[in-house]
C-alpha cells in the first residue's frame, strides 16, 4: 500500500467561532489535533459540529479565531488550497462521471502525470474493494458503495486531513456497522488524520481516539472515549454517554464525594460529579445497566434500594429493557437479565459510585461569566 497521508505535526483551532445572522453557531472552539489522530465531533443536530467541520474545510469562513497547521495560519486559504479531503453526508459524487473518474477528479486537479493518476485510482479502488465497479456511474451503485467511492475519492489525494460529515447516517443499520469497520481499517492502515462528525455516540466511541462533545455551539467536554464514558463532566455529556435516567433530586446531606439525595420516589447515596451543598437541586444520572433488579432470592441490605412498578418489558436478545415507574411516578429505564411481568413490583438497587450527580444548569459558567455574556448580548 503506497497510499499514505502527507503529515503535519499538529493542527490547532484557536477560539474558532462562527455566527450566522447574529446567532452563534460555534463559540470558542479550542482544539489541537495531532497527526494520525481520529477526532469525533459529537452532539445533537444544530450543536455546531457541522459548522466546525465546514470551517475546517474552508467552505464557510470563520467569524473569529484562527486555524493553524504547524504554526502557519490556514483559515484564510481557500478550500481548494487546503489539501484536505472531505466526505459528505450525501456522498456528493459527481453523477455524470464514472466511479473511476470521480476518484481521479482531485488527482487531475493537481495536474499529476497520467500514469500516476491511473496507478493511484487503481489503488483507491482496491482500497475500498470496488474494482469491478470502476466503469459504472454513481447512480448505478448502492448507498454503501457510493459512500466507499466518496471515501476513496478523498483518500487518494493523500490529504493532510480527512473530514467526514456524518458519512454513515444515510445507510441502513447493517451497512453502517460494516462501513464503520471499514473507516476504522482505512484510518489505521493509512494513518490518516481524521475529523469525524456524528450524532451517534456509539459510532463516535467506537471510532475515535478523542471525542469533542458540543452543545449549542459550545464545547462541553474533550477526552478519550474512556474518559467521557466514565466521567462525563455534565449531565448533557452523561446523557450522550448512555446515562438515560436523568432525575431531578434534592441534596439532603453531603459527606465527602457522596451525597444523600431524595426525589422522584428515590432516596439514595450518589457520587457528586460536580460540587453541591445540601438544599441544592441537582440532576441524578444513572445508566440503565447500573440499575440492578434485586431478585427475591438475594437479600439486599436495604442500602440504595427502592421499589418500582414494571410497565414495559422489551426483549433485546441477551437482556431485557424494562420501563419502570417509582412510587412517586418517576419513569426509569432498566436493563435486566430476567424478565419480570408487566405490573409486577421489583426492587432496584444502584451502586452509589455509579449514580452521578450534576448541576441541572448546563452552562456551568460562573456568575461573572454569565453577566459578561449578557452584557455582550
Amino acid at each position: 500500500m503506497s497510499l499514505s497521508a502527507s503529515a503535519f505535526e499538529s493542527l490547532e483551532m484557536k477560539d474558532v467561532g462562527r455566527r450566522f445572522g447574529g446567532r452563534d453557531a460555534l463559540v470558542d472552539l479550542n482544539l489541537t489535533i495531532r497527526a494520525g489522530e481520529f477526532i469525533a465531533l459529537l452532539g445533537p443536530s444544530g450543536c455546531g459540529k457541522s459548522t466546525a467541520l465546514n470551517c475546517l474545510a474552508g467552505l464557510i469562513p470563520l467569524t473569529h479565531g484562527e486555524i493553524l497547521i504547524d504554526g502557519k495560519r490556514i483559515d484564510l486559504l481557500p478550500s481548494e488550497k487546503r489539501d484536505f479531503g472531505m466526505v459528505f453526508q450525501n456522498y456528493a459524487l459527481f453523477p455524470h462521471l464514472t466511479v473511476e473518474r470521480n476518484i481521479a477528479f482531485g488527482l487531475q486537479m493537481r495536474n499529476l502525470p497520467k500514469a500516476e493518476i491511473v496507478r493511484r485510482v487503481a489503488e483507491g479502488l482496491a482500497l475500498v474493494k470496488l474494482e469491478e465497479h470502476a466503469k459504472k456511474l454513481p447512480g448505478q451503485l448502492s448507498g454503501g458503495q457510493q459512500q466507499r467511492v466518496a471515501i476513496a475519492r478523498a483518500v487518494v489525494l493523500e490529504p493532510r486531513l480527512v473530514l467526514m460529515d456524518e458519512p454513515l447516517s444515510n445507510l441502513d443499520a447493517k451497512l453502517r456497522l460494516e462501513m464503520r469497520a471499514e473507516i476504522r481499517r482505512l484510518h489505521q492502515s493509512l494513518g490518516l488524520t481524521t475529523v469525524y462528525v456524528t450524532h451517534d455516540q456509539e459510532e463516535a466511541l467506537s471510532l475515535a481516539d478523542r471525542l469533542v462533545v458540543l452543545r449549542e455551539g459550545r464545547v462541553q467536554q474533550i477526552g478519550t472515549p474512556e474518559e467521557l464514558h466514565k466521567n462525563p463532566v455534565n449531565w448533557h455529556v452523561a446523557d450522550f454517554m448512555g446515562y438515560r435516567n436523568l432525575i431531578d433530586v434534592e441534596v439532603e446531606s453531603v459527606s465527602g464525594k457522596l451525597a444523600r439525595v431524595t426525589g422522584g420516589g428515590l432516596s439514595l447515596d450518589a457520587t457528586l460529579a460536580q460540587p453541591a451543598v445540601p438544599g441544592d437541586t441537582v440532576r441524578l444520572a444513572i445508566r440503565p445497566s447500573d440499575l440492578l433488579v434485586a431478585s427475591t432470592a438475594t437479600s439486599t441490605d436495604g442500602h440504595n434500594t427502592f421499589d418500582a412498578l414494571v410497565n414495559v418489558v422489551e426483549y433485546h436478545g441477551r437482556e431485557f429493557a424494562l420501563g419502570v415507574t417509582t412510587t412517586m411516578g418517576q419513569n426509569l429505564f432498566v436493563q435486566a437479565e430476567v424478565a419480570p411481568l408487566p405490573g409486577e413490583k421489583v426492587t432496584l438497587s444502584v451502586d452509589s459510585a455509579r449514580a452521578l450527580l450534576y448541576h441541572s444548569d448546563l452552562d456551568a459558567m460562573s456568575s461573572e461569566q454569565r453577566e459578561l455574556a449578557e452584557v455582550r448580548g
Binding site: 474545510a57 481548494e80 472531505m86 459527481f94 477528479f105 486537479m109 473530514l163
Partner: protein, 310 residues
Amino acid sequence: MTVATVTSSRAKSSASLSHRLAERGISTRLLLLVPAVVFALGLFVYPFLYGLGLTFQPLPATQAQWGGGLFANYVAFFKDAFTFDSVWITMRLALPVALFNVLISVPIAFKLRNRFRGKRTLQALLVLPITLGTVLTAQGLLIFAGRQGWLNRFLIETGIIDQPLQLVNNYLGVMFSLIISGFPFAYLLISSYLSGIDPSLEAAARTLGANWKQRFLRVTLPLLAPGLATTFILTFVLAFSVFPSARLVGDASGETRVLALMAYRSFAEQLDYAMASTIAIMMGVVELIVIAVVFLGRSFLYKGSTGGKG
C-alpha cells in the same frame, strides 16, 4: 389441498373482465381523456392536416410559373429566391438571439442563486418583460431607440455622436425586441435547472482542489448542458416564429423579411392560401431540423439525476 387450489387459480384468473382490463390500463377513467382528444383533433390535427392538404392544391398561376404539378408550391418555395432567402433571414435572427439569451442567462442565474438583499426585486425586474406583449415592447423600442428617441437625442445633445444611430426599423431592432421577450424564459428555465444541481457537488469539487473555472467546466456545466440545450430550443422556436416585431421594429421587406411575414404576405396580400400553408409547413420543417440537431447533440450528454431539489 391448498397447493392444488393455488395452481388452479393461477391457471385461470378468477378476476372479473373489467378487473383484468383495468390491469392493462383500460377502464372508464379513460373517458377523462375525451375532452383533451376532442380539442387536439379539432384544433390541431384537423387544421394541420387541412393546411397540409392545401399545400398540394397549388394555384394555376403557381403551377404555370414553376411547374411540378401537385408539388408546385414546394418547387416555388425552393426555387423562388425571394421566398427561400427568408429561411436564412429568419435563421440569422433566431439563432444568435437564442444563443445570446442562453449564454447571458447562465451567469445571471448563477449570481442569483445566492441569497442577497434585493434578490426578489431584481428577479421580478428580469422576468417582467414576459408580461409585456410584443407590440408594447416594439412601441417602447421605437420611442426609446428610434431616430428621434430618447437615446439618440441624449447622445446627440451630449455631443457623443452627431448622426442618430440606426437602432430600429432594421435587423438590430428586431434582435433587441426578441432578446427582451425571450430572455425571461431563458432565465427562468436555466435558474430552475441550476437549482436542481446539488450545491454540495461544488463544495466537493472545491475540497478536491478545483478552482472556480474547473468547478464550472467540469461539474456544473456538464450537469447543466442538457438544460441549456432545452432552453436553447425553446428560445429558438420563440424567435423563429417572430412576426409582430419583425414588422413593427424591423425592415419588413428587407433584412427582417422572416418566414412568418412571407406566409402572411401570401395569405393576406396575394390571397394564395396554398402558398401560405406551404411556407408555414416549411417553417415547421426548418424548426424540426434545428431541434433534431440540438437533441442529437444532447443525447450524448449525461441526463440523469443531478442530486438537487429540482
